[in-house]
């Protein structure tokens, strides 16, 4: 059954932290560029005198960087062996795989 191999490969390639970092990072870049170069007086006045695009952009870049660091620091461990096939008759042993690693 292709169960084991597909799971290991999936876990290695796909880390949701990196997807979150990608989204927030791209948002951060766009906002920072907008905030640094393309804000009119009118825009800044609208948001109560705060250049919110710039500040939110920088905040998002920092956040994205932290998530990348976290994902690198604690990469997802690919499960070595899965004892369950996922059928109906799940046995008591499913509770412990985390313990034994």
């Amino acid at each position: 059954m292709a169960h084991e191999s597909s799971r290991s490969r999936g876990a290695g390639v796909f880390d949701v932290r990196l997807v979150i970092a990608l989204l927030i990072g791209v948002y951060g870049i766009v906002l920072t560029v907008l905030g640094a170069g393309f804000m009119t007086e009118e825009d800044i006045e609208k948001s109560a005198g705060v250049n919110i695009n710039l500040w939110a952009g920088i905040g998002m870049l920092v956040f994205a960087a932290l998530f990348v660091v976290w994902a690198k620091w604690r990469p997802i461990k690919v499960p070595q062996q899965e004892d369950e096939t996922g059928g109906t008759g799940a046995s008591e042993s499913e509770i412990t795989p985390g313990q034994e690693r």
């Binding site: 799971r7 999936g10 390639v13 990608l22 989204l23 948002y27 500040w55 905040g59």
Partner: protein
């Protein structure tokens, strides 16, 4: 800027905003595609193969609930009532979430059931299972329709697309990732959505606070406005409950909202419980709702405070408009509190941030609907199709069934979206559904988990009569026999359902035969060996910061401190 003058809710989005929005949707679909590769069995599809870390399931736990109702409704409540709205978070959610993690999760996760109805099957047998499965599936389709309708009506308001285009488009997007990647895709997207929602609301709150001159400025302005200083502290919350007497108001909040409604919702609603069941170990499952409680505690600050700011700065909502709306009339401006967040975004956010804010709002609406769909397909496939209609097929048959059922549910939800569109106040509609389904379920659960004598017959009879009682209260209120204001009917209905369920269950139990005790191990507290309720404390579950009890204690302390401050 001309657009603003014509339609005052139309946001002035430009190309940059649309690009940011499109990028978000591309990632959402991308997650569905990536998650698909992890799905090879039905357990992968329906419970993510029980493999997710606690922080992921914890955030998904919150995001699944952070739908349209939460974000729009609570900011509207914030604009109308101010800080007392925080009760929906601090009293109405956090204690129940801690209870779920500490007391109930060991039974759910430890007994290896795949759904809440399956727990009913093991504890009470087939009749209770079928009753619960069908009522849950029905409720999910109805609620998914409400979420879909709200999503479409906001898209219609913001961007001017026709309602039916928005309904179908939103349904197709949610369907494509939940049908492809199953629960993993739904959960990963919920986590992504959580961060987008925060990225949208946090800057809005900060700019808003600058606008009113910081917290001090907000205090001054709210005190001076209609509603007065009472709106700045959460207790006793008379305006919110409608009780004139302080004592009754506090009592209503603690027992009505804090006990029956919130425990019923958070501890038995499979939409929520399913997220915890997807986690990789008992310890992670117990931590799921507790980790979720941390952002839940902070949520009022980025949902309610923008609402309050809108109530004192947005022209259409401040002053005489707010006063008129609070008395139940119409504001001269024609705006309602439901528009609070949109109006504040329109007033304060420049292009760029505006696109992210729209993405955040749409994200929150999709989160709710995806959560409904992913729990509906699990219950329908496992608890109705596999249990009663097509038994004993190979696993990939049920995996395919799950995908088909997801598609069918989406089509049904498009239908119920048009039913939901006929209700003027969707919050009433949803509270009503909760009183029908969740309140009796909670009563049956609590009795069944702690009282080993409770019999199978009592299990299903209690559920049926409890739901019947809530429906009865609803009919009395609808026909005007019993005068109950707006959501008062659903509070009374929930109370009646709870009491009737308990009474019927106890009476029936003494007249019928209990199940043999040997069959109840792992399902009833007193018959479960203590070790199976424990979680591992080594390997990936080691460390003080992974102890559910300690985390819950920290949450509790923060909750109490917040209640004292505000």
């Amino acid at each position: 800027m001309d657009v603003l003058a014509e339609a005052n809710l139309r946001l002035d989005a430009n190309a940059v905003d649309y690009v940011l929005l499109a990028f978000y949707f591309a990632l959402v679909l991308g997650i569905g595609y990536l998650a698909r590769r992890q799905v090879s069995t039905s357990l992968d599809f329906f419970l993510s193969g029980r493999s997710l870390p606690a922080w992921v399931t914890g955030l998904a736990f919150i995001a699944a609930n952070l739908g349209a109702i939460e974000v729009m409704g609570m900011s509207a409540n914030g604009a109308e009532y101010g800080m007392p709205t925080a009760h929906y978070f601090w009293i109405g959610a956090v204690p129940a979430m801690l209870f779920l993690g500490i007391v109930m999760m060991p039974f759910y996760y430890g007994s290896k059931v795949r759904s809440v109805p399956e727990f009913m099957l093991r504890r009470f047998g087939k009749p209770a299972h079928l009753v619960n499965g069908i009522s849950f599936a029905l409720a999910q389709v109805l609620i998914a329709g409400a979420n879909l309708f709200l999503l479409a009506s906001v898209v219609n308001l913001l961007l001017g697309w026709p309602i039916w285009v928005s309904v179908v488009l939103a349904a197709v997007i949610v369907l494509s990732y939940t049908a492809l990647g199953g629960l993993s895709a739904a959960i990963y997207n919920e986590v992504l959505q959580f961060f987008v929602i925060v990225a949208a609301l946090l800057p809005l709150t900060i700019v808003g606070l600058y606008k009113v001159g910081g917290w001090e400025g907000l205090v001054d302005k709210v005190t001076a406005g209609p509603g007065g200083a009472e709106q700045l502290s959460s207790w006793p919350g008379n305006q919110l409950t409608g009780f004139g007497d302080n004592f009754l108001s506090v009592l209503g909040l603690v027992f009505g909202l804090g006990f029956v409604l919130s425990f019923g919702y958070w501890t038995t609603n499979f939409v929520e419980v399913q997220r915890a069941m997807a986690s990789k170990s008992m310890s992670a499952a117990r931590r799921t709702p507790i980790i979720g409680a941390f952002p839940k505690l902070a949520m009022p600050f980025i949902v309610i405070i923008p609402g309050m700011i809108a109530g004192v700065t947005v022209t259409e909502l401040m002053g005489e408009n707010k006063a008129a709306l609070m008395e139940g009339g119409e504001a001269p401006s024609g705006a309602t509190f439901n528009n609070a967040l949109l109006l504040l975004m329109r007033d304060l956010l420049p292009n760029g941030m505006l696109g992210i804010a729209i993405a955040g709002l749409l994200a929150s609406f999709m989160a709710g609907m995806a959560a409904n769909l992913s729990s509906f397909n699990t219950v329908f496939t496992y608890d109705i199709w596999q249990a009663y209609i097509k038994k004993g097929r190979p696993d990939d048959y049920y995996l395919r069934t799950g995908r088909v059922v997801t598609a069918a549910a989406t089509v049904l939800a498009i239908g119920t979206a048009f039913i939901a569109s006929t209700y003027s106040n969707l919050m009433d509609y949803l509270q009503q559904l909760f009183s029908f389904f969740n309140a009796p379920l909670f009563a049956t659960f609590i009795l069944g988990m702690f009282w080993k004598r409770m019999t199978p017959t009592a299990g299903w009879l209690g559920l049926v009569t409890g739901t019947g009682a809530a429906v009865g209260v609803f009919l009395l209120a609808e026909t005007g026999v019993w005068e109950l204001p707006g959501q008062g009917a659903s509070f009374v209905g929930a109370g009646a359902a709870f009491v009737v369920d308990i009474v019927v269950s106890v009476v029936v139990t003494y007249m019928t035969q209990p199940k043999p005790e040997a069959q109840l191990a792992g399902l009833v507290y007193s018959l479960t060996p203590r070790e199976t309720l424990k979680h591992s404390t080594s390997g990936e579950d080691a460390g003080w910061y992974r102890k559910p009890g300690l985390l819950a204690g920290i949450v509790l302390v923060i909750t109490i401190v917040l209640n004292i401050i505000f």
